[in-house]
C-alpha cells in the first residue's frame, strides 16, 4: 500500500531545551498493514524516547490523543494512516490554538474553563423520586447526538472563533454540552442557562463555518446544537420553559 519508507514530520517543542518549536523529520519502515496514527507514534517513540503525546484508551473513547493530522484535527487512535497519508508523508502537530506544554501535549485549561462555565450537570431542585427521574422515549431521543461527546477538543481547536476569543466564546464542544442540558426534560434551569449564554460572545461568536462538524471524530454536529441554542435565545424564554414542562 505504501512506499518502502514512511516520512513523518513531527512538531517538537521542549520548553526546557528549545527556544522555538520546530518540525523534526523521521523515517520509519513501511508498516506491513494499515495501522492507526497512534501506532505510528508508538513506532516513533521506539526510535526517539523523548517524543511526548497523550494517549489512554486507544479506541476513541477517552479523547486524550486529539491532534492535528496532516492539517485536520482528529483522534490518533481511530485514524488509519491510509486515510491521511499524502505522498508517503504524514505531518503531526498539536491541537491548534492551545498553548503547547511539550511536543503534541497541549494545555487544555482554557477548553475546560469553558466547559465548566456551562455547568455541565443536571440541575433539578425538586425532590428526587425513589428510583430515578423518568423520561419518555421522545424526551430521551432529544439527547441523541449530544451526550456522546468525549471532550477531545478537536472541534473547539479547529474553530477560528475559539482561537481568537477562547476566554469569551464558549466553543463548539461546550455549546454542544450546553444544549445537551437545555434539551434535557429533567433539567429545570433553562432560563438561567440561556441567560448565561445571552451575551454577544458566548454563542453568537459562532459564524457557522462548520469546521467543528468536519472534524468531530464521533460524527456529532455542534453547529446544529448552536443553531438550536440561538433559536431558544430568540424565542420567549417563558414559552420554552412552559413547553418543557408540559
Amino acid at each position: 500500500m505504501f512506499g518502502k519508507k514512511l516520512q513523518v514530520s513531527l512538531y517538537r517543542y521542549n520548553p526546557e531545551e528549545d527556544k522555538f518549536p520546530y518540525m523534526k523529520k523521521y523515517t520509519i519502515d513501511k508498516p506491513e498493514r494499515d495501522i492507526m496514527v497512534l501506532d505510528l507514534l508508538h513506532l516513533l517513540k521506539e526510535q526517539d524516547q523523548s517524543v511526548s503525546y497523550r494517549r489512554s484508551c486507544r479506541e476513541g473513547v477517552c479523547g486524550s490523543d486529539g491532534m492535528n493530522i496532516n492539517g485536520k484535527n482528529g483522534l490518533a487512535c481511530i485514524t488509519p494512516i491510509s486515510s491521511v497519508i499524502k505522498r508517503n508523508k504524514i505531518e503531526l502537530r498539536p491541537l491548534p490554538g492551545l498553548p503547547v506544554i511539550r511536543d503534541l501535549v497541549v494545555d487544555m485549561t482554557e477548553f475546560y474553563a469553558q466547559y465548566e462555565k456551562i455547568k455541565p450537570f443536571l440541575q433539578n431542585e425538586t425532590t428526587a423520586p425513589e428510583q430515578e427521574r423518568l423520561q419518555s422515549p421522545e424526551e430521551r431521543d432529544k439527547l441523541d447526538g449530544l451526550y456522546e461527546c468525549i471532550l477531545c477538543a478537536c472541534c473547539s481547536t479547529s474553530c477560528p472563533s475559539f482561537w481568537w476569543n477562547p476566554d469569551k466564546f464558549v466553543g463548539p464542544a461546550a455549546l454542544l454540552q450546553a444544549y445537551r442540558f437545555l434539551a434535557d426534560s429533567r433539567d429545570l434551569k433553562t432560563e438561567e442557562r440561556l441567560d448565561a449564554l445571552s451575551d454577544p460572545f458566548s454563542v453568537y461568536r459562532c459564524h457557522g463555518i462548520m469546521n467543528c462538524v468536519n472534524v468531530c471524530p464521533k460524527g456529532l454536529n455542534p453547529n446544529k446544537a448552536i443553531g438550536e441554542i440561538k433559536s431558544m435565545l430568540h424565542k420567549n424564554k417563558k414559552d420554552i420553559i412552559a413547553s418543557d414542562r408540559i
Partner: protein
C-alpha cells in the same frame, strides 16, 4: 447589549437595505422610456424617497458597524496581534479602541453629510 439583539439588528438591517435597493430598482425598471435628469431629481426630492434614503443610510451604518466591531474583536485582540508580534499584543486594546473610535467618527460624519445632502 444582548447577543440576540445584535444578531437581529444585523439581519433586519440587511433586509431594510434590500428593500431600499428594490425601491430604487423598481423606479428604474418601471419608468416609461429613458430616465432624464428631472425624473431622477423629482424621484429623489419626493418625501418618501428622502425618508427611505435616510433610513437606509442609518441601517447601512448600523450593519457596517456590527460587522466591523465583530472583525475588530476577532482580529485586533491581545491574542491575535500577539501572533504577529509580542509588542503589538501589549497595545492591542489601544489599537482596537482607536479602530472602533475612528469608525464611529467616520460614520457620524458620513451620516451628517448624507442627511444634510438629503434634507437641506
Amino acid at each position: 447589549m444582548k447577543g440576540s439583539m445584535i444578531w437581529n439588528l444585523q439581519r433586519y438591517s440587511s433586509l431594510v437595505i434590500l428593500c431600499y435597493l428594490l425601491y430604487v430598482s423598481s423606479f428604474i425598471v418601471l419608468s416609461e422610456g429613458p430616465i432624464n435628469f428631472f425624473d431622477w431629481t423629482n424621484f429623489f426630492l419626493s418625501f418618501q424617497t428622502r425618508f427611505f434614503t435616510s433610513v437606509a443610510c442609518i441601517f447601512i451604518l448600523l450593519h457596517a458597524f456590527i460587522g466591523l466591531w465583530t472583525v475588530g474583536t476577532d482580529y485586533l485582540t491581545e491574542r491575535t496581534l500577539g501572533f504577529l508580534n509580542k509588542s503589538l499584543s501589549k497595545i492591542a486594546n489601544i489599537i482596537r479602541k482607536t479602530y472602533l473610535f475612528s469608525f464611529v467618527l467616520l460614520g457620524t460624519v458620513y451620516l451628517i453629510v448624507i442627511l444634510y445632502i438629503i434634507w437641506l
